[in-house]
């Protein structure tokens, strides 16, 4: 690798690092605690589905801007193949789409 390649790689690393630091400083959404146990359970299930979405689906693409509930099972099945989801995660994701 010659000097030109090294300089270009250094620029890439510097730019990416700057974007990452900015991103981490501006992030940080925190869930609020709930006192009602029923609501807490529902929120936790929703959070689990959101976690599945964040950790698997959104690695490649953003969430669609709404779609018919009649195809939510098909969407989740498609993601189950793509992201190797378990049946439990499939159910959480389905609940996330249909709270």
């Amino acid at each position: 690798m010659n000097l030109k390649h090294f300089v270009s790689m250094a620029l890439v690393v510097a730019l990416v690092s700057a974007m990452a630091v900015t991103a981490q400083q501006s992030g940080g959404l925190q869930a609020k605690p709930y006192k009602d146990p029923v609501r807490k359970q529902a929120v936790e299930k929703q959070d689990d589905g959101e976690r599945v979405f964040q950790q698997h689906c959104s690695r490649c693409h953003t969430a669609p801007d709404g779609f018919s509930p009649r195809i939510s099972g098909t969407v989740v099945r498609h993601m189950r193949v793509r992201a190797s989801l378990s049946q439990h995660e499939e159910e959480e994701l389905l609940h996330f789409f249909n709270p």
């Binding site: 990416v16 981490q24 693409h61 801007d65 779609f67 195809i71 378990s86």
Partner: protein, 362 residues
């Protein structure tokens, strides 16, 4: 094949689907069969998704216009089977070149993939049919026009045993290990040789393994495949993705090494939540930067990479409109011993997603 001018994304789609003639027959046949299947759940109606877009590309002063349509069909059958397919339809309006004024016109229609998935468990999914080869990540995860951040795909995107990007045969994929702090996914595939215009493929096999750390949102993977016809060649790949938690920053990178060439790309994109969230006017802006280099190992050209060592930097600025619509713009400067040139690209893509037909009421 057109070089890395108007999106390897689209170029790559051609590479994926070098089969012309009546490509939608397969989809229509599958669609007809699926229409006769009884669906047990009101949420399991087959869907039609995909993207429709219009792109422009100015490469070294020549501007082309490219309407594109990529429909996708997904239909579950029972509890364990999914049939899915994607097709590509492109029109090209390009300058004649030389002293000949005006534009010529051509089009391309082809199947990108058509496969059936049998989901045994999270550890084992059997895929059969014409499938996208999971070598590195771009081919099977980022190539749809409604996902790509930059109109052009990476230069190394089709460096694999099959220049078409798809295989015809079977694949086993799934999750090998799942723990709280990490998980390992795998895929293994075998492809037969086929000269069919709809399902062209090379004989070969290969696989991919990737480690994912959910707390760090870090994914690392290795890919390998081998051509099993003609001169047997090996291809190696590696990828690293990092998407820090609670941010809209994404870093993706790949390295690929073939028998005659190798290269890498690194791409970063970011949306800020600091000015009213991702759906604010500012939050919808998405700057993208991609750096890539390719290196020839010898002068034998049997892949889609440039004929000489090439470096390229892409600076993109995307805007994520409401209702699944994205505006993609980018400027790239490409450097090589055969000459440096600029590539300007703009495009707008709409992603659609709706039921294939009216399902049962819930």
């Amino acid at each position: 094949m057109r070089s890395a001018t108007f999106g390897s994304m689209l170029d790559f789609s051609f590479a994926l689907t070098p089969r012309a003639s009546v490509p939608l027959r397969g989809i229509l046949l599958a669609f007809g069969i699926l229409a006769t299947v009884h669906y047990g759940s009101a949420q399991d109606t087959p869907l039609i998704s995909g993207g429709v877009g219009f792109f422009t590309d100015t490469n070294a002063g020549n501007t082309g216009y490219f309407p594109a349509f990529e429909p996708l069909l997904a239909a579950p059958i029972g509890q364990h089977i999914l049939v899915e397919s994607r097709a590509s339809l492109f029109e090209f309006f390009e300058p004649n070149g030389g002293n000949d004024p005006g534009y010529n016109h051509s089009h391309f229609i082809g199947l990108t993939y058509l496969q059936g998935d049998f989901i045994a468990s999270r550890h084992f999914t059997l895929v059969a049919g014409d499938y996208l080869i999971p070598f590195n990540t771009y081919n099977d995860r980022l190539s749809p026009i409604w996902i790509s951040n930059i109109q052009d795909g990476p230069l190394i995107a089709n460096l694999s045993f099959s220049s078409s990007g798809s295989g015809l045969g079977g694949m086993l994929r799934g999750n090998a290990i799942q723990r709280e702090k990490y998980s390992i996914d795998y895929s293994y595939y075998y492809s037969a040789r086929s000269a069919n215009t709809q399902f062209a493929a090379s004989r070969g096999n290969g696989g991919r393994a990737s480690l994912y750390l959910p707390e760090q949102r870090l994914e690392m993977g290795l890919s390998y495949n081998r051509l099993l016809q003609g001169t047997h060649e090996n291809f190696y790949g590696a990828h690293v993705w990092w998407e820090p938690k609670d941010t809209a920053f994404r870093l993706r990178s790949e390295f690929a090494r073939g028998h005659h060439a190798q290269g890498y790309w690194v791409e970063a994109d970011y949306r800020t939540k600091a000015f009213g969230g991702l759906d604010s006017v500012i939050g919808r802006i998405e700057p993208v930067f991609r750096m890539q280099q390719t290196f020839r190992r010898d002068t034998i050209v049997s892949d889609g990479l440039p004929l000489v060592n090439t470096q390229r930097a892409d600076f993109g600025l995307d805007y994520n409109l409401p209702h699944n619509t994205r505006i993609l713009t980018s400027y790239a400067r490409q450097f090589s011993s055969t000459g440096n040139h600029n590539v300007w690209e703009t495009g707008i893509v709409y992603r659609f997603l709706f039921p294939a037909w009216k399902g049962k009421q819930q």
